[in-house]
Every structure is written in structure tokens, then in C-alpha cells.
């Protein structure tokens, strides 16, 4: 569903991402982890078609994000780390606009279902400016889900959410993956990655240090006789690469 081949991104002399290749098949949830400045957000933004790659090929559902951006973008959703809503628009108007962007016919029923799922029904006529950060995050997620994307990119999705919101989001991510969507989650919360993801992609200084299933990562540590937590794995690999 998502395929990245030899992706490279440079800003003048700085190399943000170097020769990254990976694949996220439909139905899998990939955790993108790495220290600050590893190139996680740059990779997600490139996949979302917001920044062009310096080199390499990025495809979403078989469509090249550079050569065929409209087709690729129609099939994906990107939820940035900071929920950015239109201050003067109501929650419902955000959904109405999103339906119009992705040409979702008769969106109302699905929109109502999402509002109920994320406990936003009472807030449907509230303007975004009056929402808390967590609620804004929920609205952004509802908008992202509305057009049933085949690929979903999350950048630090749990920030600001309350425990119930976290649980709802996790469940919804599992549901989407079970329905065949390819999900990528960039996060510093290793517990979340361990709990939710089927695969792991560990980046450091623009390079991929590890990619594989979570079980493979744990097995690799077990072979060394070390503690098999993801946290230990993270520190071992990133410290080694220094």
C-alpha cells in the first residue's frame, strides 16, 4: 500500500533522510520511531505530498506521490502532531468541508458515526476556537477518517488526548488496519508502538537502523540475552550508531 524506495531528502548541505526504503502493506501498522531530528516528520510529510523528495520514489496505493499526486492524496490521510483547525468553522463544517475535498457522497451518516465514536456529538456546532486541544485532535482524526483512506499517517497522535480518547483512537486504528488500511504512526511513546504496531521502523540521523516486525525486534534482543523491551532495543541501536 505504501512503498518508499531509496528516498532521500536534503536541505542544502543537510541530509535529513538518506536512502530510506520500506514498504507498509495494507492491514499493517508500522511504528516510526527515532530520536529528535531522525527524519520521521520529513518522511511523513513527503509521503503526504507536502514536500518533494530530493531522490527516490514514494507511492501510495500504487500512485507516485510526485507524478500522480491527486490520485495518491485521494487515498491517504495525514494527521499532523499539532491539530490545526480553522478557528471560525464549527466541528460539523470541518467534516462538511473534508467531505467536499474528497468528494464523499452522503457523508452525513459516517460523520455522525465518527462524532459519536469520538464523543463529539455535543460539540458538532461548536467553533474550533472554543475546543480544547484534545478535542481539536479528535476533530482532526474524524476528518482524516471520513473518506475511508487506504493509507493513514499519524504524527504523534496521542498528544492531548484523555485516557478514553486514547483508547478510542487505538481501537479505531486497529479497526482501520483490520479493514485493510496501511497505517504509519510516528511517536516517541514506545509503549504505544509496542502495544499497537505490528511492525517497527527505527530511524536515526536520516537512516534506517531497523525494520521488521515487533516480534523480530524482540527476538533479536533475546538472542543477545538482553532485556526484551522495545525501550531497551531503541537505546541499544541508537547508542550503537553514535
Amino acid at each position: 500500500m505504501i512503498r518508499v524506495e531509496s528516498y532521500e531528502k536534503t536541505y542544502r548541505e543537510t541530509v535529513a533522510v538518506r536512502g530510506l526504503s520500506f514498504e507498509v502493506p495494507g492491514g499493517s501498522i508500522v511504528g516510526l520511531v527515532g530520536p529528535n531530528g531522525a527524519g520521521k516528520t520529513t518522511t511523513l510529510r513527503a509521503l503526504a505530498g507536502m514536500i518533494p523528495p530530493t531522490r527516490g520514489k514514494l507511492t501510495v496505493a500504487g500512485h507516485d506521490i510526485v507524478l500522480d499526486p491527486i490520485a495518491a492524496k485521494s487515498r491517504l490521510a495525514f494527521i499532523p502532531d499539532e491539530p490545526q483547525l480553522f478557528d471560525v468553522l464549527t466541528v460539523w463544517e470541518h467534516l462538511e468541508f473534508t467531505a467536499s475535498v474528497y468528494r464523499v457522497p452522503a457523508f452525513e451518516a459516517e460523520a455522525e458515526r465518527l462524532l459519536t465514536q469520538f464523543e463529539l456529538t455535543e460539540k458538532r456546532n461548536t467553533i474550533a476556537q472554543e475546543l480544547s486541544r484534545g478535542m481539536r485532535q479528535k476533530v482532526a482524526i474524524c476528518c482524516a477518517y471520513l473518506h475511508q483512506p487506504e493509507a493513514i499517517l499519524f504524527d504523534e497522535p496521542l498528544t492531548g488526548l484523555d485516557p478514553r480518547g486514547i483508547r478510542t483512537l487505538k481501537e479505531s486504528i486497529r479497526e482501520r488496519a483490520a479493514a485493510g488500511a496501511a497505517v504509519m504512526i510516528s511517536s516517541h511513546l514506545l509503549d504505544l508502538i509496542e502495544d499497537l504496531c505490528s511492525h517497527l521502523l527505527l530511524m536515526h540521523r536520516g537512516q534506517c537502523l531497523f525494520q521488521g516486525t515487533i516480534t523480530e525486534a524482540k527476538n533479536r534482543l533475546a538472542e543477545l540475552g538482553a532485556d526484551v523491551s522495545l525501550e531497551h532495543f531503541f537505546f541499544q541501536l541508537t547508542e550503537q550508531s553514535k
Partner: protein, 547 residues
């Protein structure tokens, strides 16, 4: 083909804006602000028409005024556009808000559709600005509607030209090397400098109209102003024929620029993303830390600028130290502005002294006046930090010490600059050195009073800087109300100082003037401190204070 969703977004945003306006009109405060602004606008428009009627009684005067406006309009437009292109303000034409970035950039839109959206979105602001400007031009225009259409097309031209320049710059930045860009940049700067120098030297006098006519009459000016001249001709057309010809030329120019913008297809999402992040950070900085902070952002190199640690002084010391350190690291351009003001004030004092050497007092007053005006200017545009108040309240320092520290941190720096200038001016005007020393001494309490009143009003009515939208009557009304209140309080304070100075001025004795003035000023400052402390104490940072 324009995407229907983008139409919907424009419509929803307008509806949301009106909804918000309507909601705030239901509150007494919002209603008062809107009515006040409405009255101010009505007064402005009324005075324009009143002057218009007066001048229509003397057709020669009106014709002369129109001719003068026409002469300077093309030059003014050229100067404004050049400024916009050179100083990258064209970036604003391709500025997407962070919510637009989040919703529109990953969405299936073509770049050209986003460009059209941006142009359509700015059209509302253009029409509103043109409406106001055309009221001013109405006196000189043959037909008001013609003047209005001309203004819309003129502003569109400036926008399209700066947008194209921004696209070309982005392309050059992506393709050329740093050295080439620097060489190009310096070449353009030197060329502009030479042109401006020639224009000033050839002008018969130093006023703007004379400079504009001098430039227009030069060979380079004729060529450069030709495209801008048609806009002036359209706005101030005398008859239908000249109006039709100039309108045809204007439409052709605008269409060419529009076609160039689409042809260049230079709206790079990456560059737009970078611009959005930069400008959003600036807006946030201005909203939270104050408009002047936008002028200079701190870098690691600035960490070299250090201030020695101050004694505790009941908590005033650390607050002043933090304030002064922040100011010297972030307000480099503010101090450059003060330096520029000092040069201007010095030049003015020198000029007055050169013309009337027998009146050194007038020369000193001119220099002092400019520097005091700069204080007013800074104070009026200074933005207080709402977020900082919460932090300050959490400190184990008394309210009075915090209030004093906050004020002194900026006031002392400003007064040192001004005082040094007044003392340096003594060298030029030794006969009034006494008065200049008095001014240097009084600058500290005067600035304390000025900025203290500003802080007091902020603690009473905390507001954030709002991004202005066309037709936002309440925001504009609120700002005008605050300025009026500041002027009223300051005027009352200074009136008392003025009364105290009278005996000294009458007796030509600086000492007799400065001592009562200083005493009155100090008494006012002392009276201000408990008021500020009380206002700070009762300030509730948890209460939301949007815009």
C-alpha cells in the same frame, strides 16, 4: 478547473467570520467596540466628503490637488512595489495559515487550484482596502466607480507582481548557488542606492512630491514608471476616453501577470510550508511576546551578549536581568531603529540650528521631540505578554517587585539610549546644555510613566494581538479605544508636569524647571506603582483572552 471544495471553504470562512462578529456584538463590550469604530469610520468618511465639498468650491484648488496626487501616485506605487519585492513581503501573498497547510496540502488539490484559492481569498481584503482608499481618491477621480475599480486593479497588480517575484526568487534559490544570489542581491541594492541618490540630488526640494517628479522626469524613471503610470491615469482619469484607454492597459498588465503566475506554476508546497511555518511563528511571537520581538529572533550567536547578574533587590534584580538580557538579544532591530531615530533627531537639530543659530532652544526641542515621539511610537505598538503573566505570578517574588522589574527592564535601556543622545547633543548646542541635561534626567521617569500606563491598561483589559481581517470593526475599535485611553491618562499626567515647568521656562532657568517637573513625574510614577501592583495582583491568567 477550480475545486468546488475550495469555494466551499471560502464560503464557510466568511460565514464563520460573520457568525463570530454577530456573537460578539451581543456582548456589551463587543457592541461598544464596534459602535466606536463605526463612529470613527463615519467621522473619517464624513471629513473626506466635507473637505471634498469645500474644495469643489474652488475647482482650481481641486484640480491642482488631483494633479499632484497623479504625479506622486505612480512613483508611490513603484516605491511600494520595489520595497515589497526587495524585502520579501511578497511572501505574504503565498502565505497559508497552519490550518490551511494541515487541510489543503495533503489533500488532492492541484497547485494551481491552491494558487487560485489564495488569490480569491485575498480579493475580499483587496476590495475592502480599495473601498476605503477610493473614498480618499473620490475627490480627484472623474467617476468614483472608476477610481474604485482602478484601485482594485492597482492593488491586484502589486500583489501579482510581488507574487511573481516571490516565485522567481524561490526558483533561483532552488537552482542557483549562494554566491550568485549574493552577487545579484548586492548588485540590485547598489543600483537602487545610486538611483535614489541621483533622485535626491536632482530634486529641487526634499519633499516627497518633488522627489517623485524628479524621478519621473529622469530617463530611467520614465521607463520604470511607465507601467505604474497607467494605474494613476486610470484612477484619476478626466474623461471617458482616457479612462477607457488606461483601463485597457491596466487589464492587459494584470492579465499578463496573472498568466505569468500560473505559467510559472511556482507555488512550491515545500516553500509555502516553510513560509507558513516562518510567518506563523512570527505571528505567534508577536501575539505572545510583542510585535517588536518579530524584528529580531534570537540565535545562539546572540548568547554572547551578556548582562552581569544583578543583586536580588527583593526580586527586582532577577526580573530586570532577564528582561534586559532578552531585550539585548532579541531587539537588535529595535535598537537599530532607536539609532536611526537618534541620527534623524541629530540631523534635525543640526538643520534647525544651522537655519536659526539664534534659537538653540528650538533646535534642542526638535531633537528632544523626535526622541520622545519614538518612545510614544514604541509604547503604542508594544504588545504585552499574556502567557508571561502566569509565569511571573508563579514566582516567589512580591507583586510590587515583579511590576517594578518588568517596567525597569525596558525603560532603563530606552532611557539610557535617549539620555546618551541628549548628552551628546550638548556638544552641538552648548548654550542649551542645561536643558538637554534636564531632558536626559527626565527621560527615565517619563518613560516609566509612559510604559507604566501601557502596562496598567493591559492588566485591566488584557488582549492578544489579533490578526486583522477586513471589516473586523471590533478589533480596530478596541485598539483605537486603548490608544485613546492611553493618550487620555498620559495627557493628564503630562499636563500636570507642564504646569510645574512653567515658572522655570518663564525665568529661563533649567533648574527651576527640572526640579518641579521631576518631582511631579516622580510623584505620578510613585502613584502608578500601587495601581499597577493591585492590577497585576488581581489579573487572572486563567481567564481566556482571545484577541
Amino acid at each position: 478547473m477550480f475545486h468546488s471544495a475550495l469555494w466551499k471553504l471560502i464560503r464557510l470562512k466568511w460565514r464563520g467570520g460573520f457568525r463570530q462578529l454577530w456573537r460578539s456584538l451581543k456582548t456589551p463590550r463587543g457592541c461598544v467596540q464596534a459602535i466606536f469604530m463605526f463612529l470613527m469610520v463615519a467621522y473619517g468618511i464624513g471629513s473626506i466628503f466635507f473637505v471634498g465639498r469645500m474644495s469643489s468650491a474652488a475647482p482650481e484648488a481641486a484640480a491642482m490637488m488631483t494633479g499632484r496626487l497623479r504625479d506622486v501616485a505612480a512613483f508611490g506605487l513603484f516605491a511600494f512595489t520595489t520595497w515589497a519585492i526587495l524585502f520579501s513581503t511578497g511572501e505574504a501573498t503565498v502565505f497559508f495559515t497552519s490550518s490551511e497547510v494541515a487541510f489543503l496540502f495533503p489533500a488532492p488539490f492541484l497547485r494551481r487550484q491552491l494558487l487560485t484559492y489564495k488569490l480569491l481569498q485575498s480579493l475580499g481584503g483587496l476590495i475592502f482596502a480599495s473601498l476605503l482608499l477610493s473614498l480618499f481618491f473620490a475627490r480627484g477621480a472623474w467617476l468614483w466607480l472608476g477610481g474604485f475599480t482602478g484601485t482594485v486593479l492597482t492593488l491586484s497588480f502589486v500583489q501579482l507582481l510581488t507574487m511573481n517575484a516571490a516565485f522567481v526568487r524561490q526558483m533561483l534559490e532552488a537552482k542557483s548557488n549562494v554566491l550568485l544570489r549574493r552577487v545579484l542581491g548586492y548588485s540590485v541594492s547598489v543600483w537602487v542606492l545610486i538611483a535614489v541618490t541621483q533622485m535626491v540630488l536632482n530634486a529641487p526640494s526634499g519633499d516627497f512630491a518633488a522627489l517623485a517628479i524628479s524621478f519621473r522626469n529622469s530617463t530611467a524613471g520614465r521607463w520604470l514608471l511607465a507601467p505604474f503610470d497607467v494605474f494613476a491615469r486610470m484612477i484619476f482619469a478626466n474623461d471617458l476616453t482616457s479612462f477607457s484607454i488606461s483601463t485597457g492597459c491596466v487589464l492587459l498588465l494584470d492579465t499578463m501577470l496573472l498568466a505569468a503566475a500560473y505559467r510559472l506554476d511556482g507555488l512550491s508546497l515545500e516553500a509555502a510550508l516553510a513560509i507558513s511555518e516562518k510567518l506563523t511563528a512570527r505571528i505567534k511571537l508577536a501575539q505572545t511576546k510583542g510585535a517588536w520581538h518579530v524584528l529580531g529572533s534570537p540565535t545562539s550567536q546572540m548568547a554572547k551578549r551578556r548582562v552581569p547578574r544583578l543583586p536580588f533587590w527583593k526580586g527586582i534584580g532577577p526580573i530586570v536581568w532577564q528582561r534586559v538580557t532578552t531585550n539585548i538579544r532579541t531587539s537588535a532591530k529595535l535598537f537599530a531603529l532607536l539609532g536611526g531615530a537618534a541620527l534623524l533627531a541629530g540631523g534635525l537639530a543640526f538643520g534647525v540650528h544651522h537655519k536659526t543659530p539664534e534659537q538653540p532652544f528650538a533646535a534642542a526641542a526638535a531633537g528632544i521631540g523626535v526622541m520622545v515621539y519614538v518612545s510614544f511610537l514604541i509604547c503604542m505598538s508594544l504588545q504585552n505578554e499574556i502567557e508571561r503573566v502566569g509565569y511571573l505570578k508563579s514566582l516567589p517574588i512580591s507583586s510590587v517587585a515583579i511590576v517594578m522589574g518588568e517596567l525597569l527592564g525596558f525603560v532603563v535601556l530606552l532611557s539610557v539610549v535617549q539620555g546618551s543622545f541628549f548628552l551628546a547633543l550638548c556638544g552641538l548646542l552648548p548654550s542649551v546644555a542645561g536643558w538637554l541635561v534636564c531632558a536626559a534626567v527626565l527621560s527615565l521617569p517619563l518613560n516609566f510613566l509612559l510604559f507604566g500606563i501601557d502596562k496598567l491598561i493591559f492588566y485591566w483589559y488584557p488582549t492578544r494581538m489579533a490578526k486583522g481581517t477586513p471589516g473586523d470593526f471590533q478589533n480596530a475599535g478596541r485598539q483605537m479605544l486603548f490608544v485613546l485611553l492611553k493618550m487620555l491618562l498620559l495627557g493628564s499626567g503630562l499636563a500636570l508636569v507642564g504646569v510645574a515647568v512653567i515658572p522655570g521656562v518663564m525665568l529661563q532657568s533649567p533648574l527651576l524647571a527640572v526640579i518641579p517637573a521631576a518631582l511631579v513625574l516622580l510623584a505620578e510614577c510613585a502613584g502608578l506603582v500601587p495601581l499597577l501592583t493591585y492590577a497585576f495582583h488581581r489579573f487572572d491568567p486563567s481567564v481566556d483572552t482571545p484577541a
